[in-house]
């Protein structure tokens, strides 16, 4: 029997993701058309071009680097989401875990003058502890992880605002610039910046994030822990029957998910690329975009690398839309529309499968009729 490659799961996942991307861009374009048809085409092209808007290759490289720097925390957040998702948990609390990761890494760097590695580790630990709260609530009090996650997101935001106020610049709501205050806390680059036209924000966080994605892939696919987590996610009654410790697994999964999100925060803030605004009234969107990235990547850790890049590419590209034609929020709007549609990957897969089945049924019919003639 010849195999239809369209039926392979991996191929389907990739195609479904691509369809979602195209659809998202199209809907984004339609929205631009509705708002103002004059600049719509240029605007959508600008979003898609992102760093390629620049004509000089060295500028392109530099801004490509910037997109990468922001892709890294997104990869980690989407890993956090998908890891928990495999265990049947929806870690919407990733945003809060990311937030306390920012808090831990920046406070350690600025208030205590720690160097980058301990700062990074602290962010991982604090993120993990924050994730464990969701886990404990779920395991021992049967509190839905989505509800406790959302509550903890807000608590995390205001805790972070409060604590980081101690290390903010005097005249602004921004935290002190690490680059001037404590250069030791910057993640080293080991010469990587030269590949990106000396973009100073390029660090070993980039290769590290990719390595982490591979490690997550291996844990999920090849190890005992992955076996247990996925079994719990697919059928928690069977996991119980098999003697797996349900409570322990829930807590452990969320600790790991939280650590990943916390690590993501450190990977961004310990480059000095951004300073935290201690008057933020919104949980950083990184954790939420991680949800879209996780689904767009087909819930596969390797897929998450690419989907995160795409989503960040679109978000960064939004900045190049002509602000004299469109309101400045347009960039966020378009990126959000595209990201939103990226969540439809699974729906797309179902649609595709139905189409394949129909086509085959038709083919079988015509094939047979042809035979009879």
């Amino acid at each position: 029997m010849k195999k239809n490659i369209l039926k392979s799961d991996g191929v389907q996942a990739v195609i479904a993701s691509l369809i979602c991307v195209v659809l998202g861009v199209f809907v984004g374009y339609v929205i631009l058309l509705i708002i103002n048809p004059d600049g719509a085409f240029e605007a959508i092209v600008a979003v898609l071009k992102n760093f390629m808007t620049y004509s000089r290759p060295d500028s392109q490289l530099r801004y490509f680097g910037n997109t990468l720097v922001k892709t890294i925390p997104l990869i980690l957040c989407s890993l956090s989401i998908l890891f928990a998702y495999k265990a049947g948990l929806f870690n919407i609390g990733a945003a809060g875990q990311y937030c306390v990761g920012i808090c831990a890494s920046l406070y350690a760097a600025l208030a205590w003058g720690w160097s980058w590695l301990p700062c990074l580790l602290l962010a991982v630990i604090v993120g993990g502890i924050y994730g464990s709260l969701v886990g404990l609530l779920k395991a021992y009090f049967n509190v839905n992880e989505v509800i406790s996650g959302i509550m903890l997101n807000w608590i995390g935001l205001y805790l972070t605002n409060m604590i980081l106020s101690a290390v903010k610049e005097e005249a602004s709501p921004y935290t002190i610039n690490i680059r001037t205050a404590n250069p030791d806390a910057l993640i080293p680059s080991l010469g990587l910046e030269q590949l990106f036209n000396n973009n100073q924000y390029i660090t070993i966080a980039i290769p590290l994030a990719i390595i982490i994605a591979f490690i997550v892939y291996i844990i999920l696919d090849k190890t005992r822990m992955g076996y247990e987590i996925k079994a719990t996610g697919f059928n928690k009654d069977a996991a119980k029957y098999a003697g797996m410790a349900e409570k322990k697994n829930i807590i452990m999964t969320l600790v790991i998910a939280g650590s990943l999100a916390g690590m993501g925060a450190a990977f961004l803030y310990l480059t000095g690329f951004e300073q935290y605004i201690v008057t933020s009234s919104q949980v950083p969107s990184m954790g939420f975009n991680g949800i879209a990235a996780a689904f767009l990547g087909g819930l596969n850790p390797i897929g998450a690398i690419f989907s995160s890049f795409f989503i960040q590419h679109i978000s960064s590209g939004g900045a190049y839309v002509d602000k004299s034609i469109y309101a400045s929020q347009i960039s966020d709007l378009i990126a959000a529309v595209i990201i939103y549609l990226c969540g439809f990957v699974f729906f797309m897969k179902v649609v595709m499968n139905n189409m394949i089945a129909k086509r085959e049924a038709n083919k079988a019919k015509t094939g047979k009729e042809g035979g009879e003639n």
Partner: protein
């Protein structure tokens, strides 16, 4: 005469990756007949019925309804043609009430609003008319399997379907319920409904069906009139050899107590009373003890309490001279307790895992299957283990160890669980309805395996609703009635009638613990 057929499925071929589930199968259902479909586990019965119900599109072949070719693209088409189906594994929404499940997709409206009162009346009316006792307001996850099935049947009747497909309806019913179902089916037939009926139980087919079509490994073997045939002939058509209906076994050599249960009480999830009330008994090495009883008399809860799937209220459980009352499921498993669960989809299997991964559900963490350092899964060992169990227990599937269990036939899923549990050579095997849904050849094999366990000095606790199985396989019978053990009987001397009286609660004797 062509037009006498309600449904004709002509030369149907349905392929799945790695297997041809139906290979040029033809089935003709006459109007107003009960037509049985017989075949081994994995022969393609459910697949053929799913084609008729619009769940699968065949690669080849056509379907005619009342002599006219029809296209059935999905279950809505089937429903529009008056075709209804009760699936082998029920398709009820667990957290909905029985009533909501029955009307789902066919909700009655009155001035645009849901009219549940009318629906309830209709359901109660149907339920009375056909003797299908249900509690319309009970939540599905709280009711017995038997009642879930009655809800499924009511779902078809509620939609006024005239062609009714029953995929192994009796596998989950008690003998009494089976008798009732047979009556129901005859009534339906008398009202002109046409019925397709899948069963592995030859006596049921002989009793209720007019004709029987036999499949073997996806191929059509033949169609016979039941009045012109015998159970022997049917079983030979189905498996291609003679099947032994009775279990051969030597006298038991009874050893020390393996399981000692004292004063066990388990709460019920369904009602305020306890499901298991102060029960005490022992199971010894080298014997098969059977707990008999009508479904819903506390057997399920007893097993959940023993294995640890549900908490117990009070009492003591000793296993191999250790008090395991408060020990974990894993501890008991490691010590040698195995459990073939009643609900294979809920507890027994991770349906989205491969067969190979399901075989290591309780042992994945041991050094045989994953490395001590780093916990890497040992794929080769896992596959080899799978191949061994598949071979030994004749677990049929489309892609061997790599088959996703969800795609396997019901009977083969069950064989996979049994194989996994027995293959661990447990000291105590708790088997709840182990042969439910198996074909006669497989039942024969599983029974012989249970006897082999016992002959090797292991203990077996069998929970069965089937009198024949109870009398045939066990060395000692404990009858459960309303949460209590009301009698200890010797299968060699007790008659089926007497056992029946105990099970109905009409008779009891004092049981020594």
């Amino acid at each position: 005469m062509e037009d006498a057929y309600a449904v004709e499925m002509l030369h149907i071929t349905k392929k799945f990756p790695g297997i041809i589930a139906n290979d040029d199968v033809t089935l003709r259902l006459k109007k107003g007949e009960i037509h049985a479909l017989l075949g081994e586990n994995g022969a393609g019965k459910s697949t053929l019925m799913s084609v008729l119900f619009g769940l699968y599109q065949p690669e080849e072949g056509i379907i005619k309804k009342d002599g006219v070719e029809v296209k059935i693209k999905d279950p809505n088409d089937a429903n529009a043609l008056g075709i209804g189906m009760v699936h082998q594994h029920f398709k009820l929404v667990e957290c909905f009430s029985v009533l909501d499940n029955i009307i789902l997709g066919a909700e009655p409206l009155k001035k645009g609003f849901l009219d549940k009162a009318t629906a309830k009346d209709k359901i109660l009316d149907l339920s009375k008319r056909y003797g299908l006792e249900v509690e319309p307001d009970a939540i599905v996850e709280d009711i017995t399997v038997g009642m879930q099935q009655r809800a499924e049947i009511l779902k078809m009747l509620y939609r006024d379907n005239e062609i009714l497909i029953f995929d192994e309806p009796t596998a989950v019913l008690t003998p009494q319920e089976i008798k009732e179902l047979m009556m129901i089916m005859r009534n339906l037939k008398a009202e002109g409904k046409s019925i397709l009926f899948i069963s592995h139980k030859l006596n049921e087919i002989m009793e209720v069906a007019d004709r029987c079509t036999v499949l073997r490994r996806g191929k059509y073997v033949g169609t016979v009139e039941t009045k012109d045939t015998s159970m022997e002939e049917l079983s030979a058509m189905m498996v291609g050899r003679d099947v032994n209906f009775h279990v051969e076994k030597k006298p038991a050599h009874i050893g020390d107590a393996v399981l000692k249960v004292s004063n066990l009480t388990v709460a019920s999830k369904r009602h305020k009373n306890d499901a298991v009330k102060n029960v005490s008994f022992e199971v010894h090495a080298g014997e098969i003890v059977c707990i008999a009883g009508i479904d819903g008399n506390g057997q399920s809860e007893l097993v959940y309490g023993l294995t640890g799937l549900e908490p117990i209220k009070s009492g003591k459980i000793e296993f191999l001279n250790e008090d395991v009352t408060k020990r974990s499921i894993r501890h008991k498993t490691e010590k040698g307790m195995a459990h073939i669960p009643e609900d294979r989809h809920k507890y027994g299997l991770v349906l989205d895992y491969t067969l190979a991964d399901n075989f290591i559900l309780q042992t994945y963490y041991q050094n045989t299957y994953s490395t001590k350092f780093g916990g890497f899964m040992k794929r080769d060992a896992i596959i080899k283990n799978a191949e061994k169990i598949i071979e030994k227990y004749d677990v049929r599937s489309s892609q061997g160890p790599n088959t996703i269990v969800r795609s396997m036939s019901g009977g083969n899923q069950q064989k996979a669980i049994i194989g996994r549990e027995i293959d661990r050579e447990p000291e105590l095997l708790i088997a709840v309805q182990p042969t439910r849904g198996l074909d006669i050849g497989a039942i024969e094999y599983i029974h012989s395996q249970l006897v082999k366990q016992r002959d090797e000095g292991k203990a077996v606790l069998l929970i069965s609703l089937e009198l024949e199985e109870v009398l045939d396989v066990s060395d000692r019978i404990l009858v459960m009635y309303e949460g209590e053990i009301v009698g200890e009987l010797d299968p060699h001397t007790v008659s089926e009638e007497e056992l029946g009286l105990y099970m109905a609660g009409a008779k009891r004797n004092e049981v020594k613990a």
